[in-house]
């Protein structure tokens, strides 16, 4: 599956400034692994020591918070967009 991943300002130093990258994967976990393989450093920024998403990182698949879906196991379909968004906003 070809998937678009949107990158927040804070992580664009890892993508050479790109705000969006296209990757392959059929689950969120696979997509984020592909992201770290293509642009080393992402895993350390997104995950805690135990491999779960950091408390202050929100990830959305097709605009839906993955915590309402299946977390890192959430399936990702062809052409869907994954957004990585800092959790600290709003209110």
């Amino acid at each position: 599956m070809s998937v678009k991943v949107r990158i927040p300002t804070q992580l664009r130093s890892l993508t050479g400034g790109a705000g969006e990258v296209t990757l392959e994967g059929s689950t969120l976990s696979e997509v984020l692994s592909a992201l770290d393989a293509a642009h080393p450093g992402f895993a350390g920024r997104l995950f805690d020591d135990d491999g779960s998403l950091r408390r202050f990182v929100n990830v959305f698949v097709a605009d839906e918070d993955v915590r309402f879906l299946q977390g890192l196991s959430t399936p990702v379909g062809e052409g869907q967009t994954v957004s990585i968004v800092p959790a600290v906003a709003g209110g």
Partner: protein, 416 residues
Amino acid sequence: MDFVTGLRCRECSRTYPAEALHVCDYCFGPLEVAYDYDAMAVTVTRERIESGPQSIWRYADLLPVTDTAPIDLRTGFTPLVRADRLAAELGLGELWIKNDTVNPTGSFKDRVVSVALTRARELGFKVAACASTGNLANSVAAHAARAGMTSVVFIPKDLELAKVVTTAVYGGYLIAVDGTYDDVNRLCAELASEHPTWAFVNVNLRTYYAEGSKTLAFEVAEQLGWQAPDHVVVPVASGSQLTKIHKGFGELHRVGLLHDEPHVRVSGAQAAGCSPVATAFADGSDAIRPVRPKTIAKSLAIGNPADGWYALETVRQSGGSFAAASDEEILEGIRLLARTEGIFAETAGGVTIACLAKLATSGVVRPDELVVAYVTGNGLKTVEALAGTTGPTATIAPTIEAFASAVEVEGGSHTT
């Protein structure tokens, strides 16, 4: 005076310059303003504050701006009123209401916006933006108009009509989004990356914005004769206001304005239809599970609260508690405050009063405590919540007979 030394990550303590940054590049933790408190303590005095303007700007020394002519609609220094009739109904002793319904645009949001946009202008921004549940929309549009800035305000499309109209009237761009507040917030967090020259007050300017809520603590302490209350009850949406009120009391002591170290118990109030933080508290959990809001308290309808974790930590460490109010309890809270104290609050104020009542009944808020309840939004903004249940006692023909047969006024037979 400027006592800001920079920004610091609340999680990993990495430091950053005092620019439009809100998130740690490394761990995504929230950035906080760092101050030179020792220098601040030398300058700031009770007399210096008391001779300042009747607004939040009397506390300028403790806020993260340098501009001596801030963007101000005359926000703050709102009434702190002794609420004996409400206290009697709830079985409490010394109870005060911080009446923040009377700010220029009718809510506490004027405090955070005045600070955020003043800082934004200092940093060179010309566009003011935000994600809002309504009160912030009003305030950003109004302050931007006053400052001659362009405003771009994003709201969920199902907001109360009054909040839509009272934002649009100031001009500027008002964008209604087909989704919940959490959808709007996610959109704005992404737009902030695409439009770095816009000041999203609660995204890239959030570090400064949040500091404005400290003035809710500063004013209460000053209005109580420079003492901290024993217990405060605060509504919780993102959780930012609650944590900053607690921080505010601590700062007053740190710079010498309160002689005794404050031990303020902080309790949080949420709507039962959107209570992710109260639920985590009740479960004894550290994980705040996001929820899909379903409540009439739309200004508190944040299902994924950015500062929920810190609000939870503050309440636990201070010995406070949480309560959650149903829609019916919220409406009764609005009516109770109105009929006992003459203050008309919006639905979020109904949440605060309903939760205060619950915490009083359960013995968490005690009659031997000096209690302050924060009522942070004006009832005229959410009149539709009461429509159908609150109206005329009777509708009559214009005759004495019709009146006499329609009602018997309690206490109305007394003559002088």
